[in-house]
């Protein structure tokens, strides 16, 4: 077995130093250290439930080398839905529109949704579909997930318009 090395990174706004094997993926590193909201689905980059924000971009943590995260910033679904305003709004809309059925894809959908909204995501169902195209929901509850992201985008747009008037 390869020797573990120390990896210092910021997770959900907190500086931590964790031990990672050279061949380990970020997903396992997070789960081993208690961030079990990051779900392990296919572990081959196909399903998207392990999606996290890495330096502000949504990536699949199962195909991200843990050791490559040294000095970087990671946000998980739990982190963004508690601490980031866009995440809190989206979380509430996931609940409001019933966007979580069995719940397994939800963490990845939340993070991908937050990434979409942070990057000037417009309330456009087609664009939202494309944005979440790499996240599988096997309950096939896509419509409600798209609804939740769509309405959050609308709310954010309304707010920005309101600020403009002030």
């Amino acid at each position: 077995m390869s020797e573990k090395v120390a990896v210092s990174l910021k997770i959900n706004g907190k500086e931590v130093t964790l031990l990672a094997a050279p061949e380990q993926n970020l997903l396992r590193l997070l789960r081993e250290n208690g961030y079990v909201e990051v779900k392990c689905g296919c572990e081959e980059g196909d399903c998207g439930t392990c999606t996290v924000l890495l330096d502000g971009l949504s990536v699949k943590s199962c195909v991200t080398p843990a050791c490559a995260c040294e000095g970087r910033e990671v946000w998980t679904a739990a982190g963004v839905s508690r601490q980031e305003r866009i995440g809190r709004l989206l979380r509430d809309n996931f609940a409001k529109y019933g966007a979580s059925q069995c719940g397994f894809c939800t963490p990845g959908m939340m993070v991908t949704g937050v990434n979409y909204l942070m990057n000037n995501g417009v309330p456009d169902r087609q664009a939202i579909r494309a944005a979440i195209s790499g996240n599988l929901c096997r309950c096939t509850g896509y419509k409600k997930i798209i609804d939740a992201i769509y309405h959050t985008a609308q709310e954010l747009r309304r707010e920005t318009a309101g600020e403009g008037m002030l």
Partner: protein, 290 residues
């Protein structure tokens, strides 16, 4: 010995590490291919040389009429590049349908060609542009035509100690890319194909370059099909001849994604579609074929 992971802090540092570890070294950047192979236990023990932090390998710029793309540039940067949209639509379109948006945040051009999958989506556009690969090593660098870069499934002309630092090509706005996969995202191509056409005033194709993936051990140029089209107009009869001709250019296999027969049918129909799209005759659909 186990695996080792070393992060390079500059290109010279990476080249020094590559020289030191030779055949044991394996360059890693986005990790979207290598991490899957690790998970499937299909990656022998090695020393990962991590080049993810090398910002000097992330750029798209124009130099003397050539488009130069740093090897560490992500597919998501490509799909947001106005330069590529205007001047190299084949590569722009390939980036748009590459894997999925989240993988595109990590996956890089250098990684996609270095991994040398027969179905790599960035390969057909680069081949259709007759591009070059800039390869660096500790004591110098060389330019390799992309046509000579792929040597087999997962094999390239790279030697131990060498690193792909850039791909470059002469762009062509009359170019296009088409892909057929089994789902809309995260699809490994059943067939992917790119065309780049030099159109004369009278509408004849002065030159045409077609490259197709997932139908041979490496992405290949469809030379026989090109010969049928060169000097002629993209008319029905001409395209039908080229559709027959592409069958001698390709050598597909049957695998989990598709049968040989299906790939042959798809390849000729996609060739028709991509040539018409490159000539801007029909932007999206080129008809279903015969």
């Amino acid at each position: 010995m186990g695996y080792q992971f070393i992060t390079a802090d500059s290109v010279p540092h990476a080249l020094e590490l590559l020289e030191r570890y030779g055949r044991d070294a394996r360059v890693i950047c986005g990790g979207t291919d290598l991490m899957v192979r690790l998970h499937l236990k299909r990656l022998p023990e090695c020393v990962f040389i991590n080049i993810r932090n090398l910002e000097e390998l992330r750029y798209i710029r124009e130099e003397d009429g050539m488009v130069c793309i740093g090897a560490g540039t992500t597919l998501s940067t490509l799909e947001n590049s106005l330069l590529l949209l205007g001047k190299a639509p084949a590569l722009f379109q390939a980036a748009q349908v590459f894997a999925d948006p989240n993988v595109r945040h990590s996956a890089t051009v250098g990684g996609n060609i270095g991994n040398a999958s027969p179905s790599a989506d960035s390969a057909p556009p680069l081949l259709a542009f007759d591009g070059q690969v800039v390869v660096a090593r500790k004591d110098g660098r060389r330019l390799l035509p992309i046509r000579e870069f792929f040597t087999g499934v997962g094999r390239t002309a790279l030697e131990p100690g060498e690193l792909v630092t850039e791909v470059r090509f002469k762009p062509n706005p009359d170019s296009a890319f088409v892909k057929v996969g089994l789902r809309n995202a995260m699809a490994i191509s059943v067939v992917n194909i790119a065309a780049s056409v030099d159109l004369a005033q009278d509408g004849t194709m002065k030159d045409v370059r077609i490259a197709v993936g997932a139908v041979a051990p490496t992405p290949v140029r469809a030379v026989c099909a090109e010969n049928c089209l060169r000097g002629r107009r993209p008319e029905e009869a001409v395209i039908r001849q080229a559709m027959d001709a592409i069958q001698t250019d390709i050598k597909p296999i049957t695998d989990v994604r598709a049968s040989e027969r299906y790939r042959r049918i798809v390849a000729e129909n996609m060739m028709r579609r991509v040539v018409l799209k490159a000539c801007r005759i029909c932007e999206n659909e080129g008809g279903a074929g015969r």
